[in-house]
Amino acid sequence: MSAAQGMSAAPGGSLAAGPLLSVHGLTKHFPIRSGLLGRGSVVVRAVDGISFDVTEGETLGIVGESGCGKSTTARLLVDLITPDSGEIRLANRRLGADMTVRDLRRDVQMVFQDSYASLNPRLTMEDAIAFGPMINGMAERQATNLAHDLLSRVGLEPRRFAGRYPHELSGGQRQRVNIARALAFSPKVVILDEAVSALDKSVEAQVLNLLSDLKSELGLTYIFISHDLNVVRYMSDRVMVMYLGEVAEIGPVDSLYSNPAHPYTRALLAAMPSMDPDRRTEEAPLSGDPPNPINPPSGCRFHTRCAHAAPVCSSAIPNLSRLRAERHLAGCHMLVPGSGHPEAAAEARP
């Protein structure tokens, strides 16, 4: 692939000023139809006011249980779902103000979990990859050539795979095609929504290595969504832990894995199977399912399952507070001196 297609808009350090992608107060509530006239007042708080930044060239991992809003967040970021409120900024341009949805979608691409469902069964691989560039005005011949380049870049020989249909490929091969399709836009950010979760472990490892290689070759930025903590640790520079549509903790991968501050993060990490008998689980494992996002618990949303819950947890909403490590934040009353939680440090300042 020529350099022109790789990073056509290589930013010459002009973006050093701020984060590449910045999300502030992103919220999406899905109304649920109920009642006779179908105009119920019940909403699912899928994503409830989350904020985070992604620096150029880094990988932000997003983890959390099913239904915590990981995939909704991903879809909000490419405007497949329109947010209720909150702002999305890409390279200091705000969506809706000085950036259109079309601009956003060209720079932020997504790879979905289900490799089969994300490919049109009636299109050959080269047509599937060439579709996006052609939509954006590339000539058919050029787009086909680009598709062949990308196929070989993701490790699929164009001669063998360009004319194939999705059902003729294995899951890993299909996911490689999906990655190639996302790359066809020369995006700045690629969102990987459980992109390797459905693959065999050996294939998963190959695809993860491919993703790492592509990232360094093309200077990509990833948002890596997964429920597999090991994979997230391997892939990410920073990790965001989500619980019931909110950010529980966000921080650099080493700091977060070695020094988890939020009880939920600790419980998640404790649930990871350990190969080392000396590092057995010490914290009580989480029991039960997350509460219903239609009626999330008051105060700290985690207090219903938290071993450290105190009266203050059900009455006050904890803010994300800065921890010792740089860029490590967690939302827990125990971390805020004087919050009223018995395990919090004593009153700091009045």
Binding site: R105, D114, S118, N120, R122, G132, I135, N136, R159, G163
Partner: protein, 294 residues
């Protein structure tokens, strides 16, 4: 990469057989569907070349040789109540009967698909308005609707075609809507939306190819229904008018002869039966040939 090298690379690409050639291969392996296809083709050829195939003039009547039995010399399938050659009338009858059976379905296929795909893809309020309007037509039994419409419009071939078309649009639109709604939620459509493509382009490239098959199969299964409804309209005097040969109408005019020449009187019914069964079997064969998992 030079142009010549790129052409060479393009030529070397292994191409998988396309979807439709696969369907054709599978259809060819289905003996029942192939027999049905042969019958359908034979009927169509018969209708087109009626003047050359028919042994006699289908309109020439004779008071002397009325209601001859099957096997009469010169009239292999006997004669009708006005002494006209049954074989020739059945052959000529294929023209109008097939027209009345196939045309409404073809038109309804295009109109119904357009309505259903629009409703399914756009969703929301547009879907509600379109589909609830369609639902109004479901309140009437299809036979009754066809009779009421052609009764209101007046007898005649064109009005018959029109009323049958209106009868078949709602079921086709409903199938199209449900298939499209299903496809719209699949991730490749989301991926296409994420690529910034317009709704029209997404429908053309990603939706149409995946929904048209099931709709088409359903439409072919309606041909037999249309044929029977058309015959019913003619039977009631609402479709084709005498002396035009049409199977339904022939069944009607011959019904008084059922005690005199029951075999001759049943012949138009036999034609309707053979035709509708063939179309149904062909549609079944198509359905299984189009199923990728099979």
């Amino acid at each position: 990469m030079s142009a010549a090298a790129s052409i060479a690379a393009m030529a070397a690409i292994e191409k998988s057989p396309g979807y439709w050639s696969g369907v054709l291969t599978r259809l060819r392996r289905d003996p029942v569907a192939m027999v049905a296809l042969a019958v359908v083709l034979a009927l169509i050829l018969m209708a087109i070349f009626a003047p050359w195939v028919a042994p006699n003039d289908p309109y020439r009547s004779s008071m002397i040789r009325r209601l001859r039995p099957i096997g009469t010399p010169g009239f292999p399938l006997g004669t009708d109540e006005l002494g006209r050659d049954m074989l020739s009338r059945l052959i000529y009858g294929a023209r109008l009967s097939l027209l009345m059976g196939v045309m409404p379905v073809i038109i309804a296929f295009f109109v119904g698909s357009a309505i259903g795909i629009t409703a399914g893809f756009v969703g929301g309020r547009v879907n509600t308005v379109l589909m609830r309007t369609i639902d109004v037509f479901f309140a009437f039994p299809s036979v009754l609707l066809a009779i009421a419409l052609s009764g209101a419009l007046g007898a005649g071939i064109f009005n018959g075609l029109l009323s049958l078309t209106v009868v078949f649009i709602p079921p086709i639109a409903r199938i199209a809507e449900s298939v499209t709604t299903g496809v719209r939620k699949i991730e490749y459509v989301e991926a296409a939306r994420a690529s910034g493509a317009s709704g029209f382009t997404i429908v053309r490239v990603h939706v149409l190819g995946n929904v048209i098959g099931p709709i088409f199969v359903y439409a072919t299964s309606l041909i037999s229904v249309s044929l029977i409804l058309a015959s019913g309209l003619s039977f009631l005097g609402l479709g084709v008018k005498p002396p035009e040969p049409e199977w339904g109408l022939m069944l009607n005019t011959l019904r008084n002869a059922i005690y005199v020449q029951p075999w001759v009187a049943a012949l138009p019914g036999v034609m309707i039966f053979i035709t509708s069964v063939s179309f149904n079997l062909l549609s079944d064969g198509l359905r299984s040939a189009m199923d990728l998992k099979a």
